[in-house]
Symmetry: C2
Subunit: 354 residues, 2 copies
């Protein structure tokens, strides 16, 4: 309910007297329950959750302090919302996101009774600053990812299939209490490790292969994200050298983090280390991203980002070097931006050797 | 490439001389590789895949027979596509789906050189009919789900946490070769089994609980979907009675399947069994949906559906009864609609007792 109050205040500040939340993760953020199709927040009184029959009983049981409206199969959701907007006398309605069809449908039904305006950034300005409740869940999700990663390091050996390594990682996370994976587990080995989104396939890991392992757990809807790179067997001197370079780039970036810093400057702190070593072209992605209810959220940490980091952001810092044919190396941790420094939520253990 | 040719022919039939594929799963369907951001199919010559640096090398290696264009970080994707549309002389460009921002961006850059029209149904008319290659992968994904379900029945017992059951299921599917789960595993026990989308949480399963287990594997990007309901311990007579009712409803629906049948009639075949027994209000969702690269695809099998089933569709048939406080029962199988009948792709084993 505190989140609803902050949303109301933000609306008021911008001259809106109502907010329509249509994105399912935003609805989860405000209501605490998954499964509703829309949330209407007027400037006073009860907020309304719109729920189809399939999820109605669950939302009624799990979302406290809301009016829960059943949407029948034959009803039109946007028509129902528009009817309430008119009845509540809302005149300036902000919304987070709507597809073209829904936007047209609600506009038609409102017949000019209220002005509609996209204001997705209002919700993001809340979601990007994690509160104490969220941080507790994110710490747990991060711990679960660490459990998975320790298991990966323990079991990884030449001759295993990539999916067998994933099996052990996910089994460890689940048995420690994970609600699921935060995204599709990546175990990309050999030449495939040079693909940042290499997934996890039926390939047998060979001695000397680089193996990029990028995993996340979820806990009560909050997600984690963490990468380590191992060598199955004895690392070569080139593998070691590149690994140390990526590790140094990550350290430099984490040291650059403080409230108010430009995200592009944090990216540059890591990227310049890799560029100076001659691998700038091989760091083919941004340095990091926010994490929370989704695995990719604002702020974005990249050369083009216009974001600034703020206390309460949880972001990944994940430099990488990818060489076609040779393989890739990435090290990724989740970091909480706090008043004076950056706190790693994922363990500080390293090691190229599995 | 055969799929590209069918797409071209469909465009030609409808008077288009180009198709822009923007949905990532549609791009995967046509190119065989994940990771591209757009696919432009002119009426002749090479098709173009647009790929950001992070996925460039992977797409180049995995997508055969395409021109692969690198999109640089500072480039605008839609501007680049528009430039090629103009250079290729495309005048009537169909597309699958675009959000409002992308639609506006490409329209602006085209400056009237080509007319843009949404034609997502062209792609769905292809994707809903599975070809032999797809069916082989879907059979494998279905087998993997069955392996998970057998494991669930073997391990389930009172005192386990829901997530521990999920751990065993997912471990079994992974070790048999699954590339991942098709969606978030559901292990919903006790009163939570009355929530069709109950997920899997930190709840201890009690003796006599109904446990709805809804799982899927993925294999080479194709997904499966299967549900069984078990009782942890000895089932009560009411649990047995409801179970037999849901099973009968499913059998009636599967018998009603043949090419050309209305999806709403298949829904009615199951729903009427449940309605006659007085539980119509407790069957709170549609009977089923298509499955393929996504876990929810057309056709839809529900009372409101306007779809007809065709040979080559793969659909779920999943009646359920949900009683608040008591629990829920759902039985779901994946079915291939073929020339003369309906073939179950998920095993025929049943059993309420775990």
């Amino acid at each position: 309910m505190k989140r609803i109050e902050i949303l109301r205040q933000s609306c008021l500040d911008k001259g809106f007297d109502g907010f329509l939340v249509a994105n399912e993760i935003n609805i989860l953020y405000f209501s605490g329950a998954p499964g509703a199709s829309c949330l209407l927040v007027p400037d006073g009184g009860e907020s309304i959750l719109y729920v189809y029959g399939v999820n109605y009983e669950q939302v009624k049981a799990e979302a406290k302090g809301f009016r829960v409206e059943l949407v029948k199969r034959e009803e039109n959701l946007m028509a129902k919302v528009a009817e309430h907007v008119r009845a509540l006398g809302i005149r300036r309605l902000a919304f987070d996101t709507l597809n073209v069809e829904s936007y047209r449908a609600i506009s038609r039904k409102l017949r000019g009774a209220a002005k509609l305006k996209p204001q997705g950034s209002i919700v993001w300005s809340l979601r990007r600053i994690k509160d104490m409740d969220e941080l507790e869940l994110m710490r747990r999700a991060a711990e679960l990812a660490c459990e998975g990663m320790k298991t990966a390091q323990e079991v990884l050996r030449p001759g295993m299939m990539e999916y067998e390594v994933a099996a052990e990682i996910e089994y460890a996370m689940r048995n420690k209490g994970s609600w699921g994976t935060a995204f599709e587990t990546i175990v990309a080995s050999g030449a495939r490790s040079a693909y940042p989104h290499g997934g996890c396939v039926d390939r047998k890991i060979q001695a000397g292969d680089l193996v990029v392992i990028d995993i996340g757990a979820s806990y009560r809807h909050y997600r984690s994200d963490m990468t380590r790179t191992f060598v199955a067997g004895e690392p070569s001197s080139k593998q070691k050298q590149l690994y140390e370079l990526v590790k140094l780039a990550q350290e430099k970036a984490i040291k650059a983090i403080k409230p108010g810093v430009k995200a592009s400057d944090v990216d540059a702190a890591a990227r310049s280390v890799i560029e100076k070593a001659g691998y700038g072209e091989n760091f083919v992605h941004g340095l990091g991203h926010g994490v929370g209810l989704e695995v990719h959220e604002p702020p974005t940490i990249s050369p083009q980002s216009m974001d600034k980091l703020e206390s309460g952001n949880v972001v990944t810092i994940e430099p990488g070097i990818y060489l076609v044919g040779f393989g890739g190396i990435r090290i990724e941790d989740m970091v909480l931006v706090s008043e004076f420094n950056a706190e790693k939520l994922t363990d500080d253990f390293y090691g190229l050797e599995a």
